[in-house]
Symmetry: C2
Subunit: 378 residues, 2 copies
């Protein structure tokens, strides 16, 4: 017997109670029953986004809401800054370019975090920049971006701060209001412990103001329509009801644990993961490690694709490999969402065994021991 | 005790087996497990669309795929014909207008079906029309459109035929290939007996050709990217895995019943519904009644909104009222998807009782008896 264990950065495991909640008989969404649960979901989303702004819910992957963030706040010909330090930063740029928005890229070595100064410099150089796009946790490199510092820089300009928090929400701190994040985008299948298929967008007053001048085409992802429906605890188009039901249960679990404790749990798991990796004699890939996901540089002589395959086949554990230019070069452990201390140890142990088996010597148990020491500190 | 019964035109009831399939532990979508089930889903979708064309799957409501159909095949400034005979025909026009596409509307009285001649006339008048938009079942009026006849008219022109089959797929016949439908759009939460949150699009060779000249902006709903992923039995962005799992089970049920039998079942239920309504002395609203949904004109002196409320409150049955200008004027019974003979009788009986109670006399049992006679014919 090999149990299946899922520790990739999304979709993440869903609590059985949330899974089973989806199995209740179908019901209509234009009813008091749905309004009541959707109302609670909307409050829960504000709680995890740490915002008093409205948070919209769409039936889509996170990318759909990213597109909405561009199409609803900008015009063709606008100029924006995009931090590109991985696959998801690049996605912001691609979306903007698809809509005829001029992208001034701030390119960052994969594995590094952007220096907020660079954003300040560009904003000084070009007073007409309409938005700054960043990524809270760049999942492809496990890099955490200092959104608080970027917010401090952007706050005094007319530019919007638009943040992809899809993987990081609930794992790395996102102080939407305190940091002046105008648009934050998230997805259901990460820290929110819900299956994939829902995307979320918070909108500040400044973002809602920008919507008024935006002339880019939009329909399904129209924030104006979604805001009008939200006023009536509704959605413009049929919501993905079972996913909303699962989300309600998972949000209740987060509320019960409190967002502060949830964030601290992710911090502890990430510190333990990093200590474990270093005790194995392996290298962390990210120079600004996130609490969402930990990336390990695959040691010379080991094929990262084979390693991921062996972990899956021999131990039943799904981790993530590298994407695009990092394919085969890193592996990524997501200690994300419905994940506790022993889950983390269950990810470190097979890495020790599998890397050894692929010819790179690791003292068995060394990583687990180091992680235990961090976890034991509490 | 009052059991809940759902007979609105979407979301529709989901078989318990499909609901429970969603409760299985989360698993990753870039795996052999997902590829195998998604491959079977893709084959099943072709089967129900009656097409050899590729059928794309998106995590979204049906409206998202409608937007994709516009954004992927047209350019700003193009001219198109849109049949507008209800809320959903109007939606095609709204989407086109959002993208700067010129709409030549073919307006049809709500309750009537378009005459294919009118489309032929417009196509002759304007050789530069790039697409004809129609709705297989206009859910807001319960009107069936003769897509076969429209296909025969459009086939000899350079225009694409783009059809909203969201509510009607599996309930009213859609011969995508035989009728020359270039783009057909569907949703999971209707005849496919799956929860809301997935949308589907079939693309003919002509549609894929049109994609090459389209310059409208798109990203999440990019058909080009979705087609490239489909080649690898994959999706460009994280799919809504549990909904795909539920869909697989429901598609297997449809295959087992066969699409011909599924369509005949919907035909029989619709005939029985219509006979029942007429035997109650009530009037059918649609002059071209669909097999997806039956619309009843609320008799003078009865408030349709109150009637829907009473049916819900007294009998636990969810039917749909009228939308927009039909609010309060019609009620709609969806005999759609996971619905059998006795479900239909369970919808007619409370209508008899509730209409009576609201002051319009109906001979109790008359509608049910007439429906039984149709059903007994087999």
């Amino acid at each position: 017997m090999k149990k299946k264990r899922l520790m990739a950065p999304g979709p993440t495991p869903v609590p059985p109670e949330s899974l089973l909640a989806m199995a209740q008989p179908a019901f209509h969404h234009r009813t008091a029953t749905f309004k009541e649960l959707f109302g609670e979901v909307n409050q829960g989303l504000k709680y995890v986004f740490q915002t008093t702004n409205p948070v919209l819910t769409f039936a889509s992957s996170g990318t759909g809401a990213m597109e909405g963030a561009v199409a609803n706040t900008l015009c063709a010909g606008d100029t924006v800054l995009v931090v590109r330090g991985g696959k998801f930063g690049e996605r912001w740029a691609e979306i903007c370019e698809s809509y005829g928005v001029n992208v001034v890229p701030i390119d960052v070595e994969w594995g590094d975090a952007v220096e907020p100064n660079k954003i300040a410099d560009e904003l000084k150089k070009n007073r007409d920049i309409k938005a700054v796009f960043a990524t809270l946790c760049e999942t492809s490199t496990a890099v955490l971006t200092d959104i608080g510092a970027i917010g401090a820089v952007v706050r005094d300009t007319d530019a919007l701060l638009i943040v992809d928090a899809i993987s990081a929400l609930c794992a790395d701190d996102l102080r939407t209001d305190d940091w002046g994040v105008d648009v934050a985008v998230a997805g259901s299948q990460k820290g929110l412990m819900t299956p994939p298929g829902l995307a979320f967008v918070s909108l500040s007053d400044r973002a809602r103001k920008a919507m008024e001048r935006s002339t880019l085409p939009k329909y399904y992802f129209s924030f104006r329509k979604a805001l009008a429906s939200l006023e009536k605890t509704d959605t413009p188009y049929t919501p993905a009801v079972p996913l909303v039901v699962a989300l309600l249960n998972s949000l209740r679990m987060i509320r019960q644990e409190t967002i502060e404790s949830v964030l601290e749990r992710h911090g502890r798991l990430a510190r333990a993961a990093r200590a474990g990796v270093e005790a194995m004699g392996l290298e962390l890939f990210s120079r600004s490690p996130a609490n969402t996901v930990t990336a390990i540089t695959v040691p010379a002589g080991v094929d990262g694709v084979k390693l991921i395959g062996a972990l899956e086949k021999e131990y039943g554990i799904t981790l993530a490999g590298g994407q695009e230019k990092l394919k085969g070069k890193i592996i990524r452990i997501a200690h994300l969402g419905y994940c506790d201390d022993l889950d983390l140890l269950s990810a470190l142990a097979p890495i020790e065994m599998a890397v050894n088996k692929l010819g790179h010597p690791i003292e068995l148990g060394a990583g687990v021991a180091a992680a235990e020491r961090v976890l034991a500190e509490g």
